[in-house]
Amino acid sequence: MSIISTQNLTKIFGSGAATVTALDHVNLSVNTGEFVAIMGPSGCGKSTLLHLIGGLDRPSSGKVIIEGTSIADMDDDRLTELRRRKIGFVFQFFNLIPVLNAVENAALPLTLDGMKPAEAQKKGAEWLARFGLSDRLSSRPDQLSGGQQQRVAVARALAAEPSLILADEPTGNLDTRSGDEIASLLRDVAKKYGRTVVMVTHDPRIAAYADRIVFLKDGKVVDETMLERRNNNRAATVEKKIKDIGD
């Protein structure tokens, strides 16, 4: 079942002669529990696509349908509610609040949604523990490494138990090793915790963790590919066995 579907999604920036078509009739559908990477050269529209899916920006034409509902028809209040409850965001620069500690940051979406701080922090602490940060609950962001800060940000994205996680270059500000850890964590978020994850990245190493890559160029989807080749491999193995018998 698809959790996200875009129909002829188009975004044009500017007006008059200076218009830029950032997205050009994009039709994309993402299944529940899938981990999808969006790749492409800079300026290909990948971040714009993520922003439109997340309701952070509105399309010039076309539709974004999340769990069967078109978000274009929503007023600002409903859109805010959708963003707070159904979607979790992860950004390149972590965007943690410097004066709050790890658990307060992780609990933030729930506190903003009106939950009592003690209850919200309990939920936040649960996610932090799953991500190996149970001993850093009271550390402030500046006391954490980049990789740890991004793990707090992923915990924050999940605190409200959204079904969809959108990550914009989540490893762009990390070294290779921490980047691998975050990519692997996002894979777990999809595979172990059953969330749908859509990630924008320009890094092949990071995209390789996904189930599928969508290639964008000049605002258009130029190719899509599944990364798992289980069936192919099995067919190749059988073929090889048959050849080996002949040797």
Binding site: P204, R205, A207, A208, A210, F215, V222, T225, L227, E228
Partner: protein
């Protein structure tokens, strides 16, 4: 590389019989799916090593139900050959790239769309990268660092290959506008009679005035 020196190294660790040598090699490379060696290849290599005096064969009488097997041991000469191999560097074979040749042939023959060739190759490399990433993550760094190192190497090479494809794609228009490398045609064989460099007719003998 041939697996000759790897086999020699495994036998220097301890005497082994053929089958054991094969599975030890496959374990070293993280499984037969990464680098499969056929039994025939192992036995041929062991025979050659024996002929060269680098290993000696003895018989193992087998215990209980086990049949007797040939066990190979390294010789002093074998140890010398192993040290020599270890001491020499390894030159990577970057220039023999099949995809590069395919792309160039695609360009000169006009039988393929270079953009499609690049995208197809990119997809294949991403699938390889995904498989290597999943396999590496399945290993435990506390006990299986050797397998992790090998896969890290594969991953880094695939990353480089993918970056090279991006760069090639960006330069495609430039290369389309340039003549591809052609050999300089030189006349073959002996120069024709009368041409420069020909010795026909033979130069007249200079008769000494004396």
């Amino acid at each position: 590389m041939s697996i000759r020196h790897a086999i020699l190294g495994l036998i220097s660790q301890k005497p082994r019989h053929g089958y054991e040598t094969r599975i030890a090699f496959e374990a070293l490379v993280g499984g037969g799916e990464n680098w499969e060696v056929k039994p025939a290849q192992i036995y041929t290599t062991l025979d050659r090593l024996e002929e060269a005096g680098l290993v000696v064969r003895s018989s193992d009488l087998g215990e209980g139900e086990e049949p007797s097997r040939r066990v190979y041991m390294i010789t002093l000469q074998g140890e010398e050959a192993l040290r020599e191999w270890l001491a020499s560097g390894v030159v990577p074979a970057h220039q023999r790239d099949e995809f590069f040749i395919k792309l160039m042939v695609g360009l000169i023959s006009g039988q393929a769309d270079p953009e499609r060739l690049i995208q197809k190759q990119r997809v294949l490399l991403f699938q390889e990268l995904h498989a290597a990433t999943v396999q590496r993550d399945s290993y435990d760094p506390r006990t299986e660092m050797a397998q992790i190192l090998l896969l890290d190497k594969a991953i880094m090479h695939l990353e480089a290959d993918l970056r090279w494809l991006d760069m090639t794609e960006m330069r495609l228009e430039t290369i389309k506008g340039q003549p591809l490398p052609e050999p300089e045609i030189r006349p073959r064989g002996r120069p024709r009679k009368g041409d420069k460099g020909s010795t026909y007719p033979p130069p007249k003998k200079v008769v000494s005035p004396l």
